[in-house]
């Protein structure tokens, strides 16, 4: 009993520390900005009148519905892309399963605005595909027009959230469940529908809710496609125009936060009262079986088609990076290496900065994520759910708002030793990334922990292990699939983050990659080098992700050979 209460104390202290961190770096800055939404623009007094204005304005109501439509559509399309990929690769013995799982993550390793540039060149009204269709058949297809264009780009960019979480969940399913179902006569789609998919539900919901929230808040893509009638662009346009300080931008930010929290709550409800944990672990997840030749061909066809689609931004970007001039034509006029030379001469520090920032941020994120997940699911601390809610709330805070909040909050706080304001020290960029990416890591860790049965921990404790030892030797290894997924998502997306960092970069020597690409892309002559830098980014972040994946996997093998299987393919 003594050790139990001591561990509660430890967890309590940890929770307090995390709470403090979130308070200082999330709540305070956001409140500083959001406060404006509750101020009467004329008198400065506190009021709700701005919210009344919001709901009275038809433009905002329209934007609200558009945002929901786009977010919902993107979840649907992203599910259509990721479910087959996740299912085929975790269930069948495939030569290229690891390759597919890796390539499937690649779309995240590109700032969405870069992806949109490349996709416009390929699928725009006068992009390669439409020019060809027009030449052959005399019509064009509006892939990229209006809200549906946003859905296409967003789904292609964010589907890995579902893919990664769903794969992790599928791999964690105990094959005994499946065997029992088969013994009872279920097979084929029924087996998938009634057994496999429901058991993988926490992973799917975690991924889908992230996609929904991200798309709901995403700014870059609608802006690049020049769609203004959505909430996030409305907020951004109103916050960032010169001179105008219409509080509506801030009101919209509040509404984004509130609505996102609401949909998170709905996803919590959906999973409540259900036990997804499987007792046995290390059985290797779903049974893998070999495919018959014609099945193999079918699976490969589907997968190649999907991969072609999701990798199209990269294909477009690669063409752009090697092309000389690409204008109103199917392919660039000629090819050259000049852009790469340019990038390697001038832009290497963007790359090292990015590896540093994103690596640190992702590391801190999984540590925080694991701690919070454990506190929420395994302790009885009062208010523990709030840690989760607050950390998840970060997903709903537009990057610009966080950036402005940091500038306002930390400009007067001088860091000792280096004697600079915290807001212009590079560490602030890392902190911003930690906060921005914490929800991803947290969701993944949560899903990982939810699948670990508490009975295993109880067993360990009955055998005399202390709480700390149980966490270290049982919980963390068993949820390593989720932690890994969390690390990879956080790392990959942090390395292409732009919206908050663009506000916080105070010296070019501190600038990360996405900032460099953005800078290049703002001039006619910079499009090629910008694209080249983008490709270099994709390669480097991809390789770094792969290496960290290997490192962790090897470590696991030394620890417990059986567990390694669980992390496979994540």
């Amino acid at each position: 009993m003594n050790s139990f209460s001591r561990s509660q104390w430890g967890a309590g202290g940890l929770a307090l520390l995390i709470g403090l961190f979130l308070f200082v770096f999330l709540i305070v800055p956001v409140v500083k900005v959001v406060y404006v939404a509750f101020q009467d623009p004329n008198t400065g007094a506190l009021t709700l009148i701005n919210f009344v204005d919001f709901f009275n304005t038809s433009l905002f109501r329209e934007s609200f519905l558009n945002s929901i439509y786009v977010a919902g559509g993107a979840v649907l399309l992203a599910s259509l892309i990721s479910i087959p990929l996740a299912y085929f690769t975790t269930r069948f013995n495939f030569g290229g399963a690891v390759l597919i799982q890796t390539l499937g993550i690649v779309p995240l390793i590109m700032p969405p605005f870069v992806g949109a540039v490349a996709m416009l060149l390929l699928f725009g009204e006068n992009g390669s595909v439409n020019l060809l269709i027009d030449e052959w058949f005399g019509f064009t297809i509006p892939f990229m027009e209006g809200l549906n264009g946003v859905i296409l780009v967003e789904a292609i960019h964010y589907f890995p959230f579902i893919l990664i979480n769903l794969s992790a969940a599928l791999l964690n399913i105990d094959s005994a469940m499946e065997e029992s179902a088969q013994n009872l006569g279920a097979s084929g789609t029924r087996l998938f529908r009634r057994i496999v998919f429901p058991l993988a539900m926490p992973g799917y919901v975690a991924g889908a809710s992230l996609v929904f929230l991200k798309v709901f808040d995403d700014l870059g893509t609608p802006l690049l496609l020049n769609i203004n009638n959505m909430l996030a662009p409305q907020a951004y346009l109103r916050i960032s125009s010169i001179g105008i300080s219409d509080p509506m931008g801030y009101v919209i930010s509040v509404i984004l936060v509130v609505f996102s929290l609401f949909s998170l709550w709905v996803s919590f409800l959906a999973l409540k009262n259900k036990d997804y944990a499987t007792v046995q672990k290390g059985g290797g997840g779903l049974m893998k079986r070999d495919l018959r030749p014609w099945e193999k061909i079918g699976c490969y066809a589907v997968i190649i088609l999907i991969l072609l689609m999701v990798l199209s931004p990269h294909i477009g970007l690669a063409l752009l990076s090697f092309g000389t001039v690409w204008s109103y034509s199917v392919l660039p006029d000629a090819y050259t290496f000049v852009h790469y030379g340019n990038v390697f001469r001038t832009a290497t520090q963007y790359i090292s900065n990015t590896l540093l920032y994103a690596g640190l941020a992702a590391l801190i994120d999984v540590v925080l994520g694991t701690a919070i997940a454990y506190i929420v699911w395994r302790t009885g601390l009062i208010g523990r759910k709030w840690l989760d809610y607050i950390a998840m709330g970060a997903v709903a805070v537009p990057g610009v708002v966080l950036g402005i909040g940091y500038l306002r909050t930390f400009v007067e706080f001088n860091v000792p030793i280096i004697d600079k304001p915290l807001s212009s020290w590079w560490v602030i960029i890392v902190i911003a990334l930690v906060i921005r990416r914490l929800p991803y890591a947290l969701r993944a860790c949560m899903a990982g922990l939810q699948q670990v049965s508490i009975m295993l921990e109880e067993a360990a404790e009955n055998l005399g292990a202390t709480k700390t030892r149980t966490v270290r030797r049982i919980v963390v290894p068993l949820m390593s699939g989720g932690i890994m997924a969390g690390f990879i998502i956080s790392f990959a997306t942090a390395s292409v983050e732009l919206s908050a960092t663009i506000m916080l970069v105070s010296a070019e020597s501190d600038a990360p990659l996405a900032y460099g690409i953005y800078e290049f892309m703002q001039s006619a002559a910079g499009r090629g080098p910008g694209a080249a830098l983008g490709i270099v980014a994709v390669l480097i972040v991809g390789i770094a992700t792969y290496i960290s994946h290997r490192v962790i996997k090897r470590r696991e093998k030394e620890l417990a050979p059986g567990v390694a299987v669980a992390a496979q393919g994540v």
Partner: protein, 446 residues
């Protein structure tokens, strides 16, 4: 700093789990370095920065921010300022900073810079910011696009209203880009309030898109997303110089405005900042502006002797930028109202406006000579071009205060809220466009 960073990189890349490594010592480095906050792309900043470092030996650090973000950044960091200079195009951005007391006066030593370019004074009369180059708005087009779609080359604003350009034109919004604001204002001043807005809406009816970034326009024309764009000259000229199949011209009614540079108040290195201004205005610095990747109009008339053939010279060719006598005070008096009106009437109601325009254009093509139909079309046009407020109201001080960021004094009188007005305008505009579309459709069926 550098070394520490490399250690970090190796540690994070190699063993991402090594948390302890974060404790590496941090060294403070305080080198003499000029920090410039700028909205310009690296093509400009790197080229100019290199030339400056070569000439003076002073290191420069360019901090790229969008103009609006740059202003926010300087405002937010004013209490503990680390930037030396602000370097951007739109004079209004400098006015905002000047108004907030964030700039510092400087007297230029270089000789040979005239008072005015076109009809616009080159330097801030109060001495806070200096013009270093001139730029004007014009029309840019993609030659392949025009050829493929069989469109003629436009050469005036009025050309862009023609039905043939329906869905082919792109532009940014004045609230997004300071220079776009100037173009909108120039046309309003040149044609008058009512006529000017009517012209903008007729052009906007042909829009393919309103881009959220000013660079979105040349980007769209360069890649062929749309054929014709309303852009600032150097976007057009530098795109052409970069090899894109595009061209650019100044329509008659345009304004040349100076692009500016200023020293930030409490700059860490005001001396170096002064040297930068002197360099930029020296014959050497002015010549850098002619670089194919930059292509801005120098403010020193002598520099044009070295310009490539066909390069526009506003000091010789008086037709550029002198048709409108730009009234800076008038512009200032209604700055935010213009932004808001443009967004409410055009940016956010583009689909409605385009639908009305299409209906009117179809009806016009169909019912030539049909007096009754023409009358309906005229009514429809009048509805489209209606502006919710008069020119006098737009410049009214009290009314403008509603749209202002900061009330200067607590006593400034403000009644009503921006959102309230915009909502009322939006309702009116939407109804007008719908009614206009209906009338035009009726005319077409006559």
């Amino acid at each position: 700093m550098k070394i520490t960073k490399r250690i970090f990189v190796q540690l994070t890349a190699g063993a991402v789990l090594a948390v302890g490594a974060v404790m590496a010592p941090i060294q403070a480095v305080a080198a003499e370095k000029l920090v410039i906050v700028t909205s310009y792309p690296p093509d400009t900043t790197v080229t100019v920065g290199k030339a400056f470092t070569k000439a003076t030996g002073i290191k420069v650090e360019m901090l790229k921010k969008k103009t609006t973000a740059g202003i926010k950044y300087l405002q937010a960091t004013a209490a503990n300022n680390t930037s030396d200079m602000f370097w951007a195009s739109a004079p209004d951005a400098f006015e905002v900073l000047k108004g907030d007391g964030l700039l510092q006066k400087y007297t230029v030593k270089v000789k040979g810079i005239p008072e005015k370019v076109g009809a616009f004074p080159i330097n801030d009369p109060e001495g806070y910011y200096k013009g270093f180059a001139a730029s004007g708005y014009g029309i840019m087009w993609n030659t392949r696009y025009l050829k493929a779609k069989k469109l003629p080359v436009p050469n005036s604003w009025a050309d862009l209203e023609k039905p043939i350009y329906y869905g082919h034109v792109g532009m940014s919004a004045p609230s997004r880009s300071g220079t776009t604001h100037l173009t909108v204002e120039t046309l309003l001043q040149g044609e008058g309030w009512e006529k000017g807005w009517a012209r903008w809406k007729d052009i906007a009816g042909n829009f393919k898109t309103v881009t959220a970034r000013s660079f979105g326009v040349p980007d769209g024309v360069n890649s062929g997303q749309f054929g014709v764009g309303v852009v600032i000259d150097f976007f057009g000229l530098s795109s052409k110089a970069s090899g894109f199949p595009v061209d650019f011209l100044y329509p008659k009614m345009t304004t040349l405005v100076p692009a500016n540079i200023a020293i930030v108040k409490n700059a860490p290195n005001p001396g170096l900042a002064g040297q930068f201004i002197e360099f930029l205005l020296s014959p050497e610095g002015q010549e850098v502006l002619l670089d194919p990747k930059i292509r801005r109009l120098p403010v020193n008339p002598a520099t044009y002797a070295k310009a490539p053939k066909g390069f526009p010279n506003p000091f010789k060719d008086k037709s550029i930028g002198s048709a409108v006598k730009f009234d800076l005070q008038l512009s200032k008096s209604r700055y935010n109202i213009i932004n808001s009106l443009f967004d409410v009437m055009i940016t956010y109601r583009l689909d409605d406006l385009r639908a009305a325009t299409k209906a009117i254009q179809t009806a016009e093509a169909k019912s030539k000579g049909n007096a009754g139909a023409m009358k309906l079309i005229k009514q429809a046009r009048a509805l489209v071009s209606k502006v919710p407020i008069t020119a006098a109201k737009a410049s009214e001080k009290d009314f403008n205060n509603i749209f202002k960021k900061k009330r200067k004094k607590a006593t400034t009188k403000v009644s009503g809220r921006q959102a309230e007005f915009e909502q009322a305008w939006d309702t009116e505009i939407k109804a007008n466009y719908a009614k206009a579309k209906q009338l035009a459709e009726k005319a077409a069926s006559m």
